[in-house]
């Protein structure tokens, strides 16, 4: 039996002992560096390697020009689409794992987590090999096309035109596909966690009482999995919004996302103050998304 949970207010000293390390860590490696970047966003370049914090708002003014706002909105649209696809693909997967025989589940979960064992860069390059003009996807499609053409000649019809490789890489489609590929596990895991906790007898009751499979899904499973869906959406949307590697490597001429612009400010453009301002606008935006999310969830909590 676990001891009843105690309020931290009555046990200040043990609480302080436990909390001090993570708080120290957070302050030293998160709050302090972010504060420095935040200060930079009110500065200007004074020479190639010096930044003067002058309190100027010029960087924010520039960052809210339509050029950058439009790139931001586009990034938001791309990451929302990625999140939606992840949800549509990930939900059945999470359901399947939940209802799989118990001795299968660890293996199925391992399958979901396996990609994390490989570096993102390597996975992206692997995907590029697959999707290239002369990649395996195009080779397979070409073989199918050739087969169809052969079948047509067999029944005495004109053969198909020669196969022209599909352009799978270097466009927005490739970016969305690459981001879905990378972020799918982030969606499946919280969904699985939510569905796994779900009381299965509620589903049985719903079915016994005459609800169809669909309405059981809509009226029982989905609402109960709500927090898991919300968590999955957040944990997918936020990193997708900040993605820069995938659009850089797989994107075409118009696939830049806001994170690519920010990256260039810190590197090639050597304009850290402006990059800092863009970063903080992105952070504020994410903050608003998270805040809206927790407001929406501010319903009465269930008992422990």
């Amino acid at each position: 039996m676990a001891a009843p949970l105690q309020d931290w207010r009555t046990q200040k000293r043990p609480f302080a002992a436990i909390a001090s390390m993570p708080i120290f860590w957070l302050v030293l490696f998160f709050v302090v560096p972010m504060a420095v970047v935040w200060l930079y966003s009110f500065g200007e370049n004074a020479g190639p390697a010096d930044i003067v914090i002058s309190g100027t708002l010029e960087n924010y003014k520039r960052a809210t020009e339509w050029l950058y706002v439009s790139i931001f909105l586009k990034s938001l649209a791309v990451s929302a689409l990625v999140t939606l696809i992840c949800l549509i693909v990930g939900f059945p997967v999470a359901m399947a794992i939940t209802f799989a025989p118990p001795n299968w589940r660890p293996w199925l979960l391992l399958g979901i987590m396996l990609p994390f064992w490989t570096n993102l860069l390597i996975r992206t390059y692997a995907l590029m090999t697959l999707m290239g003009t002369n990649g395996y996807a195009n080779k397979a499609l070409g073989a199918l096309w050739g087969g169809a053409s052969w079948l047509k000649t067999l029944v005495g019809m004109q053969p198909l035109d020669a196969w022209t490789p599909a352009q799978l890489l270097y466009n927005n489609f490739a970016v969305v596909l690459g981001l879905v590929y990378v972020h799918l596990p982030f969606m499946v895991l919280p969904l699985y966690a939510a569905l796994d906790r779900l009381d299965k007898s509620l589903i049985e009751a719903s079915l016994d009482l005459g609800a169809s499979q669909i309405s059981t899904l809509n009226r029982i499973i989905m609402p109960l999995a709500g927090p898991g869906i919300a968590a999955g959406v957040m944990i997918t949307l936020v990193p997708a919004l900040g993605a820069y590697l995938t659009p850089d490597l797989m994107g075409g001429t118009d696939s830049q996302m806001i994170a690519n612009v920010i990256e260039r400010q810190f590197k090639r453009a050597n304009d850290w103050p402006f990059g800092a301002a863009l970063s903080f606008l992105l952070i504020y935006a994410m903050f608003i998304i998270v805040a809206l999310q927790s407001l929406r969830r501010g319903q009465p909590k269930r008992g422990e």
Partner: protein, 371 residues
């Protein structure tokens, strides 16, 4: 040729895989500098009067197979080499102060940038007698008059790599990449804003260093017009795109295409008639280097004829080291991709670092990509 081939299949070229991908480089460059310099200093003294160690910050695959071991044999100085993937990374790392590097390899415009930011130590030419091996045209360069702060290591030229079987007739101008839909969807150009604007300037008959904000406007409009014909803005991995058949024409450095040509007979390279932009990588000593004398010794060693030959055999880039070049086989010396004709070289310029124009280039290129 065979030994060159084996070397090449191993290396990727310092401007290829890692570049632009800061993430991947972090793991490599973190390798403890501090630890290294402490542990090997057990009271021993090198002939330079310093502890026998040195921290070298270099590009990937940018040194001979045995060069550092040979240097240790000759001088007793152990070199810890760590790697960076782009000039931006090098600059970002050093702008907060030197963490212990003795020798670095910035490109020409970054030499200027670092000199203006007071980040480089003036070189003592008396300690670098092998400077005499350097070809005269590299002994005094506009980005570093009289070589006060830098020694030449390699140089490069931007041009156009293409697939012979898919490109006919062979073009001779930047037009094919910048202002034509002849190869729609089969061309790739660089994603580096400054280089792109300067080369468009070259195409328009201007000097790479004389562009004005009005020119930038004109070029921006040209780029937006050309955008539908371009397949990708590549991160300096154009030789890979070309080798994989993703594109048939690509804007790339001659050294990178020369490497790819060794593996694929169907590739070739040409220098557009309007002229091009010269780049040079240079050996420098950052301010605050803990072992400046060792650093001079290493730089002098790298400029040695025999050492330079071994480096060149590995990396196959054009070398400014005349004595080393003389030792190389004819397949290298007479390779028109590596060494273009001198009348073409006369039309090429070094890009100057320009702190006013750089942000304009970047913002205009962001507009092009968002258009």
């Amino acid at each position: 040729m065979d030994e060159i081939k084996t070397v090449l299949t191993r290396g990727m070229g310092r401007r290829s895989l890692l570049q632009g991908l800061g993430v991947s480089a972090i793991g490599i460059s973190i390798t403890g500098l501090v630890g290294c310099s402490k542990e090997s200093s057990g009271g021993k003294i090198a002939s330079t009067g310093e502890e026998p160690t040195l921290n070298f910050y270099n590009w990937d695959t940018y040194i001979g197979e045995t060069t550092l071991d040979d240097f240790k044999g000759a001088s007793g100085i152990a070199v810890n080499m760590s790697l960076f993937a782009s000039n931006d990374e090098l600059f970002a790392k050093l702008r907060g102060g030197n963490q212990g590097y003795d020798v670095i390899v910035p490109s020409n415009d970054f030499v200027e940038r670092m000199v203006s930011a007071d980040m480089l130590m003036p070189l003592d030419h008396a300690q670098i007698p092998n400077f005499k091996n350097v070809a005269p045209e590299f002994q005094d360069v506009p980005f570093d008059p009289k070589r006060a702060y830098s020694m030449p290591y390699t140089w490069l030229l931007l041009g156009i790599g293409y697939r012979k079987s898919k490109v006919n007739p062979v073009p001779d101008s930047w037009k094919v990449l910048f202002d034509s839909d002849q190869y729609k969807g089969r061309i790739a150009v660089l994603s580096e804003a400054g280089d792109m604007f300067r080369l468009y300037g070259k195409y328009l008959g201007k000097s790479v260093n004389s562009l004005t904000p009005a020119d930038i406007k004109t070029i921006e409009a040209m780029m937006i017009k050309q955008k539908p014909n371009i397949k990708a803005y590549h991160e300096d991995n154009g030789q890979d795109l070309l080798a994989k058949g993703e594109v048939d024409l690509v804007l790339e450095y001659n050294g990178d295409i020369a490497q790819a040509m060794v593996e694929d007979d169907d590739l070739d390279f040409f220098f557009p008639k309007e002229g091009s932009q010269l780049n040079a990588d240079n050996l420098c000593i950052p301010k605050g280097a803990p072992h400046p004398k060792n650093a001079h010794a290493l730089i002098n060693y790298l400029l040695d004829a025999e050492a330079g030959k071994k480096i060149t055999e590995t990396i196959l880039y054009p070398t400014p080291n005349a004595a080393a070049k003389a030792l190389m086989p004819d397949t290298y010396k007479n390779n028109p991709v590596i060494f273009p004709p001198s009348e073409f070289l006369a039309t090429c310029e070094y890009a100057k670092f320009n702190s006013e124009l750089q942000p304009l280039y970047e913002e205009a290129f962001t507009r092009v990509r968002a258009a």
